[in-house]
Symmetry: C2
């Protein structure tokens, strides 16, 4: 193997795949990145795989000798990220005994020799054989992930709840995540196809999402979010699903992840259809008040009491602790229905408010022990549901 | 106690004194900040003290009622830093039983009540009774701390070595710090007094530093560095010292710290007076090469070998590890004296190179086991000494 590439190409692609390198690999080879140089395509591909999440990427290089090898991902990343911009030459070298391989990395300032491992030992990334590939506009994924990802459970024992559930209708894709305490549901719609799109040969036809349903680990979706972060929102990403795997392909980058097994909870039946009270108020004002009273709520199971007054057109937040003191903030709000009070875990409330995308929001509720939902006023179709906490009198 | 002040004044002064609040207080009162409101001066002062380091500051406020109280520093800081800009009212409130105090904090968005403790319990900051106060230009402290502070020991058992030693001559102040493995010495000089200074009534006469000697804990000096960070370099800071304490006063801010006891090592005798070899080279080039080879040196007691070649006018850095691989970088250098090699702990070398202030530096050495010194070429008077590591052949 021998190729010449730019430091910036090697560095950015190494950083990308390194996200799939496990921090505590179950087998030494998994701490490595697979490097394949192809002289026909004049490209070098990099792959990392933790047996659930795999990331593959490739970049153009001047390949003078085909070959494949695996190299310690962290070490290589640490070296390459510190190299100055410019050309880098990578080549396999012969060693005295044939048990080990050495890869030499040369640049203007010096040279590094890194001990490598055989490419044969590296587990192959799973592929999706059957099934059509859906072309999704990136904007749908961006919106869906921003609104739902944070609500997934980070407790590995909760299995299916550690993922985001995606379901399709003919022209929309719904993202849902819940950890059992709160639920976030975002409905993203396919953009209407314009004449301009039709003229553009590279633009593919809009997919039919009817019947589509899959639960994808939140961890993989966080990497996907990072991957699409600086892409053009109107670009398309290809999505392929089979019995076991989900594959996202974006240009030369591919993310593979094992689906989460099991039935996702029927979350739609948790969302009340009717409400006795509706409160409209300013999102940022509510959020910054919550951040302040949360300082005291920290000491009391994160409990904050929310009082809404129809006559005064006002919402008040309050926290009382025995040891430290108390906090009370009020803000104007449009309250329809009876005045009353309800209590929340302040952290769940803040998480949802941060993800809601609009200036004004609507809060709908019934009696104190029933779920409360938050919607943006205008903009995206999003529902954030929080279970209230019983107020102990 | 009752006063009105701006959120930004209260916030910035609270952040400043909070640096002297111990993270694990030995007595509950030390987790508090002392607040004193003075209606005559229309100022509020804040004090925090961990029994070694104390910080006091004051700001103007509209004080309608004198008083003093102590409040939990972290809680108050957390609340005030989250408040929007604008006026804040603070006042003591009567409670039902006289054992406890409550301070109410009111602002546009709401109100907080914080449980307080008696000011009488708060230990007074030590004062310096005798001794003249030295007026030092801030630039001397800035340069001295930047060049020496990093070399002090962070191992609390090393007592005197956890401080920076300051010694004066009639017109200079020397800062020295060592942790036993390396030593940094910076000599800062009093700026020449110009006519302009004499015309300015506020400018005081230059002090005579002859005979001045004190060892100050590095931790306190880091806070001092932060305190003077955004001040005008030509401003003066007042320094007072007695048997036990050092006090720095800058405007309304005062930092008090207990001196470190014991004799500081006679470091000047460690610095060789004559050298058989001198190497001049570019500081940043050497530093970035070290950062790269350090990736591998990490695996081998941080050892890096430095080879200097008189004929080729070159310095090479190399690291060889058994498991991971090897690294070698070279750079041009002016080498006088015989060619040879020497080994260092790469971390000590990098620390010193980061603190040296010039583009080019000079490295002077004798045989392999004698101290090596680094000086900036031009600019500040600074000496950085590192003990080499024996090369095992």
């Amino acid at each position: 193997m021998k190729f010449v590439c730019s430091q910036s190409d090697l560095n950015s692609n190494l950083s990308l795949v390194s996200r799939a390198v496990p921090s505590r690999p179950t087998h030494p080879i998994l701490a490595n990145v697979l490097m394949v140089a192809d002289s026909q395509k004049n490209r070098v591909s990099l792959t990392a795989f933790d047996l659930s999440l795999g990331i593959e990427t490739s970049f153009s290089a001047d390949v003078s000798e085909d070959g494949q090898i695996t190299l310690p991902a962290k070490l290589l990343n640490d070296i390459v990220s510190r190299l100055p911009e410019g050309e880098i030459t990578l080549m396999s070298e012969e060693t005295e005994n044939n048990d080990s391989h050495i890869v030499a990395l040369k640049c203007a300032s010096g040279q590094f020799q890194v001990r490598a491992m055989d490419a044969e030992e590296f587990p192959p990334l799973p592929t999706v054989e059957e099934g059509e590939s859906l072309q999704l506009p990136i904007v749908m994924l961006t919106e869906g992930l921003k609104g739902a990802l944070f609500a997934a459970s980070s407790d590995e024992t909760k299995q299916i709840l550690t993922g985001v559930h995606l379901t399709g209708t003919p022209d929309s894709l719904e993202f849902a995540a819940t950890d059992g305490h709160r639920l976030s549901v975002v409905e993203t719609t396919l953009p209407p196809q314009t004449d301009e799109d039709n003229e553009d040969e590279t633009s593919s036809e809009m997919p039919n999402l009817e019947g589509f349903a899959v639960t994808i680990p939140a961890r993989a979706l966080r990497e996907l979010e990072r991957m699409i972060g600086n892409r053009n929102e109107s670009d398309a990403i290809a999505l392929q699903v089979d019995e076991a795997q989900v594959v996202f392909q974006l240009g030369h980058q591919r993310l593979t992840v094992r689906k989460l097994d099991g039935a996702y909870p029927n979350y739609q039946m948790l969302i009340p259809k009717e409400f006795t009270r509706t409160i409209s108020l300013e999102r940022k004002r509510l959020l910054s008040s919550l951040e302040r009273v949360a300082v005291l709520a920290d000491q009391k199971n994160n409990l904050v009491k929310c009082t809404f007054n129809h006559e005064e057109g006002q919402v008040s937040l309050s926290v009382e602790t025995q040891d430290l003191g108390s906090a009370k903030e009020s803000m104007p709000a449009e309250v329809t229905g009876e005045s009353g009070e309800i209590a929340f875990n302040v952290k769940y409330l803040m998480d949802g408010l941060k993800a809601l995308p609009t200036k004004e929001i609507k809060m709908q509720l019934n009696e104190g022990n029933q779920p409360v939902i938050f919607n943006p006023l205008g903009g995206l179709q999003m529902t954030y549901l929080v279970m209230p906490v019983q107020i102990v009198k």
